[in-house]
Every structure is written in C-alpha cells, then in structure tokens.
Symmetry: C2
Subunit: 318 residues, 2 copies
C-alpha cells in the first residue's frame, strides 16, 4: 500500500514519513501537498512564542493536556529558527510530558531551520497543512527564541500566544515590543514569581498604546505552567479567540489570504525553476559565471546575456 493510502487511513508512521518528504521538498512531498490541499482548512493552529526560559514547552504541554481532556486530537510542532548551525540540537533537549508522548492522539514533531529562513516558515506552513489534513483538531506550533524568524513562523498560525515572565529586565522587554502586534493572547507564566502583576500591567499598557483599537482586545492570562495553574483559563481565552474569528468571518478571510499566499508561492517556485532551467541550458553559462567570479564582467552584464529582461525586476502580483 502506498504512503498516501496509509496516510489517509490514519497511519502515524506514514504521517511522519510524509512530513519528512514535505520538509525536504522531495517529489513525493510535492505531489502529496497537491493531493492534500483540498483536505486542509479544518484544524485550528496556535502559535506560541516568547524568549528562552519562559517555560513555553511546559505551557504547550499543559495546554495540550487540557484540550486532550476535551477529546481533541493534538499535534505539537516545535520549530527552532534561531539556530541555523546547530541544526536543532536544542530541540532534542526538550522533554515533553510523558502522558502526551504515550497518547496515540497526540503527535509531536521537531523542525530545525536547515537552510534559509523563508524556507523554514514555508516548510512550517506545509507541515501544518499535512497535520491538518491528517485530522488533528489543534496544532500547537512552538518556537524557540524571539526574533523575526519566530515572528514569521508564528504568523503561519491563526491564534498566537506570546509568553512573558517576570524578571527578564526592561531592556529586553523593550526589544520585544515588536512582537506585541502579533499576539492574540498574552501569557505571564511563572506568575508565582514577584513582579507578575507588573509585567501583566506593562503588557496591557503597551497594548493600549495601539492607536487603532483592534476588533479583538488581547487578554493577558497569568499562569504557573509547572503546576498547571491558569492553564484552563488560557484554554478558555484561546477558545474565545476561535469564536471571535468565526463570528467575524475572520477565519474565512485568514484562510483566503493563506490560499492566495500559497498560489503566489507556487508561482514563484515555478518561475525560479523555469528560469534556472533556462539559464543552465545556455552553453555560455559556465564561462560567464567564471568571468563574474573573477571580476572580469559585472553580474548585471552577465544577467543581460543570460536572462534579458527590461521590466520591473521584482515579484509584484497583487
């Protein structure tokens, strides 16, 4: 029986293999994405981000446990965009809760950025689709660290949780201001430590500075993930966000935007594939490349010979 058949029958090993194909962009993975596409758009995705040491993994596990009790099927994807060289060594250190690891309705997967950053968020988007098509109700997407890499990865999700903790220092807080805009629910974890109320207030203050009040007012939830405290409240706020998305037709809009972005991405990949095929087929390519390398010809002149084009040299599809 072939991989896709086993995938459709709910075989988790087929799922794991398919994800590897998709991550590596193999022909099998590409064909699968095409085949699966129509079965996506059902599962809810939740992105979780925040600085190292805020207890993201524990919080994700606890949230997964709450959703499991409600009978939902859960996937957890842990993405590490900050480590292009270690190849995700940090991920291996993460210990998930045992009962989740043993639960056949919970699927856990790690991804590390092996190549370019754009590649990772693209791969993450594809993996989310595979998990969605497999039938998971909730897909938790956890990132390591806070930076633009994380922001781009987390944006693949519908609902975004931003985790903070007391005591990280104001300098660092200021730098993280950039992620305020992506949070739908804010979590002050380790809130049994001193200063939790102050962090929560700071977040609310920063959110209130937003000149145009968004239709969704992000709540701030205090948790102690290691004890499970506040996690049910967090799950409730996540559900509230889902209801908000549905009621305002925002989910449909989100899916529509994603589909258009997918179309653009597919077209771009084809454009690049076709152009490199065309350039490679030119017998003078190696000669021109060598001249450019040695500084004997500027790359613009070489490009003129290999791929003449006098329009606007950028992607500009609305």
């Amino acid at each position: 029986m072939d991989l896709m058949d086993r995938f459709r029958q709910g075989d988790r090993r087929a799922l794991a293999r398919l994800i590897t194909h998709v991550e590596n962009g193999t022909p099998v993975g590409r064909a699968a994405m095409r085949e699966l596409y129509g079965a996506t758009g059902r599962g809810r995705s939740i992105g979780v981000t925040g600085p190292p040491g805020t207890g993201k993994s524990t919080l994700v596990d606890q949230l997964a446990s709450v959703f499991r009790k409600e009978g939902l099927r859960i996937a957890i994807v842990c993405v590490d965009p900050s480590s292009p060289f270690t190849g995700g060594a940090i991920l291996a250190d993460r210990v998930r809760m045992r009962h989740l690891q043993d639960d056949p309705e919970v699927f856990i997967r790690s991804m590390a950025s092996r190549g370019a950053l754009g590649g990772l968020s693209r791969a993450t988007g594809s993996v989310l689709k595979v998990l969605d098509a497999f039938g998971f109700d909730v897909i938790l997407l956890e990132t390591v660290g806070v930076g633009q890499g994380e922001v781009e990865v987390v944006r693949e999700a519908e609902t975004c949780l931003v985790i903070e903790v007391p005591g990280l220092g104001d300098g660092i807080q200021a730098i993280k201001a950039g992620i305020l805009e992506i949070g739908h629910v804010f979590v002050v974890n380790k809130s049994d430590n001193p200063g939790a109320d102050r962090v929560a207030e700071q977040i609310l203050t920063m959110l209130s500075l937003n000149p145009v009040p968004p239709p969704w007012q992000p709540p701030v939830v205090q948790t102690v993930a290691t004890k499970g405290a506040g996690v049910e409240d967090l799950a409730r706020q996540v559900r509230r966000h889902w209801e908000h998305l549905d009621a305002q037709n925002l989910r449909r809009e989100h899916l529509g935007r994603r589909r258009i972005a997918d179309l653009a991405e597919i077209l771009k990949c084809r454009a690049l594939g076709a152009a490199s095929q065309r350039v490679l087929s030119r017998p003078e390519y190696s000669e021109l490349r060598r001249k450019v390398e040695l500084g004997q010809m500027d790359p613009y002149e070489a490009a003129d010979r290999l791929l003449p084009f006098d329009g606007i040299e950028e992607w500009r599809l609305p």
Copy 2:
C-alpha cells in the same frame, strides 16, 4: 548636476540619498547599483553581533575611533532585523560618540527591516557596496540582537565579531551556540565584571570542539568598551584577520562567491519580475485568484493554468 555625479565627487548628501534609493529599490537605486558595481571590492567590512546589552554600539564606536586615528575612512551601518513592526525605533535610541558624529570622514547610517528578512540582508549587501564604492576603507556593520536574521546580515561582512559579556546565564549561552561558527574574532566586553575569564574560556572550549580546525583560529579578546580598554588589541586582531584573508587568497574567494551570489540574485529578481508580468497579463488571473481565495479551486490547479511548468520547481543554479 545629477546624483551620481555628486556621489562620485564625494558629496555625502548624495551618498545618503543614494542609499535611500537603494534601500527602497527605486529605479534610480537599481541603475546606481549597476553603475557602481565595478568600483566595489576595496573596502573592508566588519560585522558585529551579540545579544542586547553587550555594549555593541560603544564597542563599534571605540573600534571606529582607533581606525580613524590610523587615518582610515569609516562607515557605520546599524541594522535591526529583529524588529519588523517597530520599524527600527530602537535604533534611534542609540547615541553614537559625539566626535564620530562630527567627523566628516565618518558616515553613520541606520537600517530597519521593513519587509522580509531576505530583503534586509539583500539591502544590507547593496548598502555595503554603495559605501565601498564611495571610498570608505572600513565599513562596520552592527546588528541588534542575536538570531538568524542577524546571522544572515552579518554574513554580508568579511570579518565577523561576536560580542559576549559575563553574567548572561548559561541557558542563553547555549542558544547562542549557533553563532559560534560565524565569528572570526570573539570579544568578551565588560570584562571588568566578574566571570569574564570564564566566559572567554567557555568560548575557547566551544571553539575547540569544532572537529575540523579551520585555517583561522578565532582569538578571544577582552575589552571594557566604555573605557576603551582592550580596543586597540581588538583592532590588531581584526587586522590580523585581514592579513590572513589576503595571504590565503580568501578575500579573493570571498569576493568571487559574493559576485556569483549577486549574479544569482539579479537573475532571480528578473525571473520573478518576468513571471509576475506574464501572470498579470493573463485576463483570467483575477478570476482564478478569486476562486483560490474562496477555496473553489486549489492553488496548484490555478498555477497550472497561469504558469504551466513541469520541471523542478526551485532555484537550482550551481
């Protein structure tokens, strides 16, 4: 007199305007890049990265001051890839040393990531070329924060300094392991604080774990940037790296690789420009786009109609 003429005569306001053109990818900026290309490859670029709070700006200023005393013309570019939303508000807070700001042979510029990350490192590479062509001997490229964004930006430089300080905690150190591979010179700044020797030792230990010893053994320099202590030693190590690059022909190789990367980038932009032009010219585009948005057609089918291609859908030029 036109912008390029004034640029060639050393007019700094023309330089500043040209950089804006290049950053924004205007037709003037594109034409200028093409015109300037042949005049690049002379100036030395130094990337400086490290976590917030390690004193990067002060160190960059001190290093610039040492090079200025040696008569070199200096440009400082401060890049903030971690803040896609604040639009570089943090950069404005950075106060450079007054004597640098008043020095006509020192040029200071900030860049924030307004769009995609790839866009920022591309723009940074172009800005480095403009500064190089203008005649700066040393271009210091300072980034905010540590993440893949910073890594990609810093890689545009020939020599990379990685700044650490005592007392940031081991958890954070581990996450930063990924940037060990890009450092040519390591700096333990604030080394009058306790634990500086231990941090220096940790770096040396981590470097020694590298299974294949590189031809260049990165030195670790201790500094107290606020007092200027150790900065002349740092400048010496940077010069040693330059000599190493020259002696081993690595600089020529680096420039050759960059030129080939530039050629690929130009070809990619043309491929994308040509493809979007082609897609936009199709009368059925809006109709198909709408169907994809509403989920009535999958994006693969729409792509088949708009840009049929059955080769390998990725850029693959050697």
